[in-house]
Amino acid sequence: MNGAKSLDQLGVGVRARIAAIDWAALDDGDASRLRHFGFDEGVAVESLHAGPFGRDPLAIRVGRMTVAIRRAHARAVRVTTEAV
């Protein structure tokens, strides 16, 4: 896949679409919370802000919501910046 990277590598202000989520890399609770926030294949995401210390956590716009997640979890989300 061209332009595919993990969500934590997405630059601030760049829009992308979720290509795949490695649910197996997340524990059950974390996975179900991500689902509750609307993380899913095909959903539009944008990295909005990064935390002041160590650029962690990240503020991600997912659909119409903004959620904070740590880089470690963002790593499980593959995004594509193509055809957004």
Binding site: G29, D30, S32, R33, L34, R35, H36, F37, G38, D40, L48, H49, A50, G51, P52, F53, G54, R55, D56, P57, A59, G63, R64, M65, T66, V67, A68, I69, R70, A72, H73
Partner: protein, 616 residues
């Protein structure tokens, strides 16, 4: 008599559920607890347009019927009729954030599938419009198959049609939808939700959202932390500066009342009980109501505006070094007001070990009950002079005490995460809701509820302990040439405690205050007030409590006493809530043990250092 119909208000967090609940029920609400858990139960009453009285219960916000926290469990159990202490609701009011349809509709669909008579409040339509979103409520109603009413809870808009719709629901015979029942396939639900949202959105104009612009400032890598520090600084300044006039007025009122009643009563036991027990004891505590309310005002505003979550975002990384998550920031900041709601707020921390650690260190945050103790000691022993432009020495000492609590908590968390609470953790996931102007009435209501809780405490626990202490301190009565605090029963108990705490510089007065202060920290002030008030009659001189203390305590002792209160877990309510939240005695006992040990060491170290510098 059959109870009035019960309407449950449910919805996602940040949908404006509580604002709508407040708008519907006004001040006619009760805050309680569900049995066995510390999830708060907010219930209120209202009257529907047809004249029918109904009960309304505000369920904890949830993302779905598959709970990820104790709060969400209560929501699910109430809606399935399985929650102890709650009947199955007769109707359901679902609150949906108009600008977050795709996400909120998923839970809405689950809720509708439960088959209860349902109305949907399409809330915050004004903010959706501000974000360039135009919605078709009629289309949404058609897609969902239940009445949809547009509302703006904080402006009380749409309430009448909402009540009318509820009235109609309760009038018509109960309709339970036959069919598939609750659908649990998350993928299907999500797709349905997205399709319906798409259908209901008429147009979307991209605008630069206010929230986004504000976040650009508040979450800025440099400005963000600076603003957070400034807000916290202003908050603690305000607690002391703004509270002085009302506190002085309250004190004058209490003193005036005491003098007046004292003058009207004949000299004797009853007069002593009322003046030395009730007025000197409870009065000493009541005057701190303004400080506590100002602190809660800030916390309610920070929560109501949506800033509190941003603070958690900014702090997450730093707190992760102490083995905590940014989520812990909110409970810990609340613990500055009181550890009890702080510990209860840890329920939103998903990871059990993160949560346990947060609970164990929450009592280290300087709660408002310590303020009476700190303020009294600082007022008596620290000179009111400035050490720099606008910086008072007294304020600086207070700041140091707060700081000691925070550093103590972070170090304790660090050690706990590497020893008794090992493993797990590493998660921080939370929604960053839109910024909002909180409604003044909602804030006022929250403050009112806190004030009542505080006054009930003062009237209950504090009054009881003070009166018992007064009795113990009054008998047997001192003969000529004896000091009342030496001969009384309390004096003898204090002698016992004194042998343990003498090495860390505590005198007999403190020893006497420590035991009743287990009920609540501020009782220490009430206790010292009562004892000195009894003694003062022998000394025959009128002095303020601060003057009396300054004459009897050394500076080293006073500082040691302050250090003790930074750590000592002197609060039955905190111990009780910890037992409830951790389901057993193991963790509360551990907490009491490690905190008393820290308190003893800290007070001892302070005392001997001060003595070494010639302050003994």
């Amino acid at each position: 008599m059959t109870p009035p119909p019960l309407i449950a208000v449910a919805g996602n967090p940040n949908a404006g559920k509580s604002a709508l609940f407040n708008a519907l029920t006004g001040a006619r609400q009760k805050v309680g607890n569900y049995p066995g858990v510390t999830v708060e139960r907010h219930v209120g009453k209202t009257i529907l347009p047809g004249g029918r009285p109904v009960e309304v219960v505000d369920l904890p916000g949830a993302y779905g019927l598959d709970p990820t926290s104790p709060d969400e469990e209560v929501t699910r159990d109430v809606l399935l009729g399985k929650q102890a202490g709650e009947r199955l609701p007769d109707a359901l009011l679902i609150v949906v954030d108009a600008s977050n349809l795709d996400n909120h509709l998923r839970f809405t669909l689950q809720l509708i599938d439960l088959g209860l008579p349902t109305v949907v409040a399409l809330n915050m339509v004004d903010l959706a419009k501000r974000d360039g979103l135009e919605l078709d409520a009629a289309r949404l109603q058609k897609e969902l198959g239940v009445p949809v009413i547009e509302t703006v809870a904080v402006r009380k808009r749409g309430l009448d049609p909402l009540l009318a719709a509820l009235d109609e629901l309760l009038l018509s015979p109960r309709l339970v939808r036959a069919g598939e029942g609750p659908s649990h396939d998350p993928l299907l639900l999500q797709l349905r939700a997205r399709d319906i949202a798409m259908a209901a959105i008429v147009s979307e104009t991209p605008v630069r959202r206010l929230t986004h612009r504000l976040d650009g400032l508040f979450l800025h890598p440099v400005a963000g932390p600076v603003i957070l520090a400034a807000i916290l600084f202003v908050m603690f300044q305000a607690v002391f500066a703004w509270s002085a006039p009302p506190a002085d007025a309250l004190e004058a009122l209490v003193t005036g009342l005491g003098t007046w009643i004292g003058g009207a009563l004949p000299d004797g036991i009853l007069r002593s009980l009322i003046i030395d027990g009730v007025f000197a004891g409870v009065g000493a505590v009541i005057v701190f109501l303004p400080q506590i309310l100002i602190l809660f005002l800030f916390i309610l505003l920070l929560e109501g505006t949506g800033y509190m979550v941003r603070a958690a975002f900014l702090m997450d990384r730093l707190m992760s070094h102490a083995g905590l998550s940014g989520r812990a920031f909110i409970p810990l900041l609340s613990s500055f007001a009181c550890a009890v709601p702080g510990i209860m707020a840890t329920r939103t921390i998903a990871d059990p070990k993160d949560r346990l650690t947060t609970i164990l260190v929450a009592p280290l945050m300087t709660c408002s009950a310590r303020l009476p103790v700190y303020t009294l000691i600082i007022g008596a022993f620290i000179p009111a002079r400035t050490v720099g432009p606008g910086i008072g020495l007294q304020g600086l000492v207070m700041f140091a005490l707060y700081l000691a609590g925070i550093i103590g908590a972070l170090l304790a968390a660090l050690v706990l995460r590497r020893t008794v609470v090992k493993g797990g953790g590493g998660a921080f996931m939370m929604e960053l809701p839109k910024y909002q102007m909180p409604r003044l009435a909602d804030v006022a209501l929250g403050l009112w509820q806190r004030a009542m809780i505080f006054l009930k405490r003062a009237g209950g626990i504090i009054l009881t302990t003070t009166v018992i202490l007064w009795a113990l301190a009054s008998f047997p009565q001192a003969g000529p040439g004896q000091k009342q605090s030496d001969v009384s029963i309390a004096g003898h108990i204090a002698d016992g405690i004194h042998t343990v705490v003498a090495p860390i510089g505590f005198n007999k007065d403190i020893s006497l205050a420590l035991l009743p202060a287990m009920a609540a920290r501020e009782v220490a002030v009430a206790a010292i007030g009562t004892v000195y008030s009894l003694d003062a009659e022998d000394e025959g001189q009128l002095q303020t409590l601060e003057q009396r203390m300054a004459g009897r305590w050394s500076l080293a002792t006073a500082l040691a006493f302050l250090a003790w209160f930074v750590f000592a877990p002197q609060c039955i309510s905190t111990i009780a809530v910890t037992r409830r939240e951790t389901n057993g005695w193991k963790w509360p006992l551990f907490m009491v043990g490690y905190l008393f040990t820290l308190a003893y060491i800290a007070a001892g170290a302070t005392y001997w250092t001060a003595v070494a510098f010639g302050l003994g």
